[in-house]
Symmetry: D2
Subunit: 343 residues, 4 copies
């Protein structure tokens, strides 16, 4: 069995990985599709981000779907052959955060493909994955490619929930990579009445438009494009900041009306904020991180046709072509979501 | 100019009504369509409901749309010929409730077609209506029939907001008249993942199904149909009670999971509740009444194609045929929403 | 070792009970004080309440404090001789409700002295109790009598949290038994600006007054006493209903202003509500049941002198005098909280 | 009649000011006490703050109390001789923010002693003030000095409300000037179980301790003092940042547990935040600005003895000694709240 390891920046290797037999309560999954996420790209390009650094070889990948190939003892509700989306989130269930209902904040989280603790948590870009049955959500009716979108969609559903009331709201989304565009889909699904999306690349703004954004603005070619929304004390109710760019954060703070909500999704380093506006307009800035029950909801909404992620999956490559896949995923002028094909 | 007056139960009359010239800030509207609401039917059949009784002739109607025919001084943003949905809600803007942001709870409300204070608040079923410009929401792109649905849709959007987080939730709707079916549309628009609808008439359940309910149940022909949802401590997150029937309320209380939310929309008299379950499961029962900013949101969502009310408008009759219209509206086996045509 | 068993209505017996050695993680507690709760009285007088009935002998009691007398393996943070308040709440930690942060709604709850499942959950009125260390909260600085008040105080802190924002609010409390009076203390601690308390017995109203109620009203001798608070749409922000009386519920619904919150604490059977007012004023009715993290908070607030429960503990009797204790506890004209002394 | 004008930085002058007769609905108030606020000191030392600059002479002051000396027509509920606390907040009541229940965010706010619009809004440090009756809250039972504390206390009550649930919470307050110490009082009043306060001056920490802080830490002399609270993902529930110091903000972000709430009260310029922690811990940062209904609540809580501000009023000077008063107020090693005596 092969898996895709990151050894260091610009050093990915397809290497053997030990096969595992599912313990009780677990299943083996023959991997079908795996999406390349921004954090995978960070490991690939920089060997990590912030203080999170690769210190040993780590299997990448946490946006995956496959077919159940073997069942451990005691597994019910799943059968061999079932297509499943696999949640990369493995909270401990016993720490203080888990027990107060915040499993995404688990103090002992073992999230696939994460260099945060050491030894690192190995990821899911492997031909066969053994996972707990509870991580698997049946995805019949979806393609494996769609099912592998459950994870990033869950991130965005979680962010939309963190933003509070969405029905009839005016929403700004800054940064239209996969997370930004999925947030547009999620915000619309939750009833947003008007969605303004910004980015600095026309290519991704086309995806934002197709996903339902009412207005798309290129803030590189038209730096003042958000001005009309920043009149008086601002006019937007909610801002999803998905770019990690300080200028986007500041633009949103100016565009939000009093008591508006800003949800920061993009991981970023230190950022300088106009705190006077935050205080005087009583804005609410919230971080949003990962997800929990939203993973099953993501699959459910896709299966019912209530959210369609298909247009976002722009490229897929056989596992062996991982170099091309990562290069393509790094090029925002060409790609939205790039996936690896495992079989 | 003619208007439709209710004099007493079963005593509707098309009678002359004084023409008015719009004062500053107001507009005259040539009425086009007016929907018959449950409260109109109450006045028609019973001369009122509860302690609210007709004490003088009152023009009925509060779900209306028409074309602007004259502008008072100082009106901006509207032109003669514009199709507008007209909000029947006229809060005072100065009482304690208005000033704490609850205009739908205004202590001096003058809601069209309401016998609550005396003299009664005259309604909008008249050939020409003079209204404040702020009551008018431009509805270009909609038909007059659709625009006249803004009011009941706003009621349901308000109820959905009162229910809290909707994205990914499991929702029960009891009672599938126009309010129930519009609530299904609104809950879906706000991201409900699963919607179960019940009624005692198959005819309206077909509308519920067409509006997007995942499961429809006739609780007359299958009284135990909700049992599976009431296992253990219940499985539904939210219950919209739109029937006013005590048995529906009780069924929902049994079906709600701990901390579930029950929103009561249907006006009703005293009802007996299983308070032990309410307490032990820590349920939250909320009343929902009318709307405020949701009126403009209703028009906006319809114009953007995000909510389609068209299938609900089953009948329309020229004003002169008001007797037939009210009779049809009273027959749940035939009609969903019945409208009057004014021109 | 002796324990106090309820065999049936009016059949309490002090009988031998097997001694237990603490397993790992557990401690033995030499009981010192145990308060008699309304549910204990229900078993005593009626053999249960509603559908919850005694079907086998059950040890009563769940408001207890004592001294640690032995430590099981692996227990840290507790020493022999420590005075501890013991939480009677034992959620499973693994069910759906526990995992979404609602342990008080645990589907497998084993709450001391509860006839809800069968076999019943045995209670804590015994000379020595073995409990999990996590149930024990150190109470140094408190008397055993005070520590044994942690449980009912926790119930009321939980109810106050369920009511939402309390700072500066106008609060109505109906029913001034121990739960009502502790709710007054808790609501004041949480910042209530004005507290109106009602009951039908002057004796308990004196306790309400002493606990800080600004106004106390006997609604038996002055049935119209709440009228001034029910003018227009009502003037109270929050109503804690602690009496279980339908008339108190109705009076509160009339006194609450629009969007007011009513928290039902008292267990009760079916109750008839004026639903028209609930709907039209958009009231929020919430059940409140038991507690979780509030148990430790209760001990903490008492230890810091931020809540003083001492005046409520009106009587205590040696265990052997349990008959007198239960009789006294049943007489609202004499007793507020009655406790048993175990050593 | 004299008033205290700021002409520019370090240029305060006691100059004549036109007397006014109260219009209908207004009252004249013979000023008694006026507290010097941080913003008054900013005008005094720097001629403004950020982009808010003095451009014409402006009467300072907005924390005032006095005695009603004349009544305009139609005023009820006030009598000549009444001691009143006067709210400096004058929202328009008609803009979008007012009408959605956010008067403190009024788009046309005329808050006393503010250079924000031009012409500036003249302040309340004058011998006689004419104000709308609705700005006046009767303060009988309080001293004028206490009544003049209603304004800063209202700011802190508003902040505490913005922080959400306080009962039983662990609270960090950074910056222990008057606003910080009043926040301690307000948080305790709202049920905070543990309060940690930090500053860089021992003198003010003594006030924090006296106000009820459980732990006070001098982060200048003991820079690592907050370390124990920052273990793992942090342990504090709520952080009130009252210092305007970037380092205090950062320390609080590290000390907050997941989903913790940070309320920024101190006005400040741009600040650099560790956004990675904000995102990963899903913190909620809220600005808090001024107040509205909290002004009357502040008076109410003081009158009932539920909050005692007396120890904070460390100095008062006759109006003529304004130079000494402002110098004293600028010296944190000596003064907490400094007031002017008008008569």
């Amino acid at each position: 069995m092969k898996a895709l390891y990151a050894h260091a920046a610009h050093d990915l290797r397809l290497e053997p990985c030990e096969d595992a037999v599912p313990e009780p309560g677990h299943v083996a999954i023959r991997m079908r599709r795996g999406g390349i996420c921004g954090s995978d790209l960070h490991y690939y390009h920089h060997g990590g981000f912030g203080t999170v650094r690769l210190r040993e070889p780590m299997i990448l990948g946490h946006e995956v779907a496959g077919e159940v190939s073997a069942l451990g003892d005691g597994v019910t509700g799943l059968s061999v052959g079932d297509l499943v989306a696999v949640s990369p989130s493995r909270p401990c269930g016993g720490c203080g955060e888990c027990l107060r209902g915040l499993p995404n904040q688990c103090l002992n989280m073992r999230f696939y493909g994460s260099a945060m603790p050491f030894p690192h948590i190995q990821g899911a870009f492997r031909e066969t994955l053994v996972a707990h049955a509870a991580q698997c959500v049946k995805a019949d009716g979806l393609s494996a490619a769609q099912a592998a979108m459950a994870e990033p969609l869950a991130v965005c559903l979680h962010a939309v929930r963190n933003a509070g009331e969405m029905l009839g709201r005016r929403v700004l989304v800054t940064g239209c990579g996969p997370i930004g565009v999925l947030t547009i889909l999620a915000a619309r699904r939750a009833g947003a009445a008007e969605i303004i999306a910004t980015d600095i690349a026309d290519a991704v703004l086309d995806f934002a438009k197709a996903a339902g954004a009412d207005v798309v603005l290129n803030t590189r070619t038209a730096p003042d494009a958000l001005k009309p929304y920043q009149q008086a004390k601002g006019s937007m109710d909610i801002h999803f900041e998905c770019s990690g760019a300080e200028s986007a954060l500041a633009a949103g703070i100016a565009a939000l009306r009093p008591r508006g909500v800003l949800v920061q999704l993009g991981l970023s380093g230190d950022m300088t904020l106009p705190m006077m506006q935050v205080t005087a307009k009583e804005l609410m800035l919230r971080g949003s991180f990962r997800f929990h029950e939203e993973f099953a909801i993501a699959v459910d909404l896709m299966r019912k046709g209530l959210i369609d992620v298909t247009p976002l999956i722009t490229h897929s490559y056989p596992l062996i072509e991982f170099e091309t896949a990562f290069a393509t995923a790094s090029d925002r002028s060409k790609a939205m979501k790039v996936q690896l094909e495992f079989t």
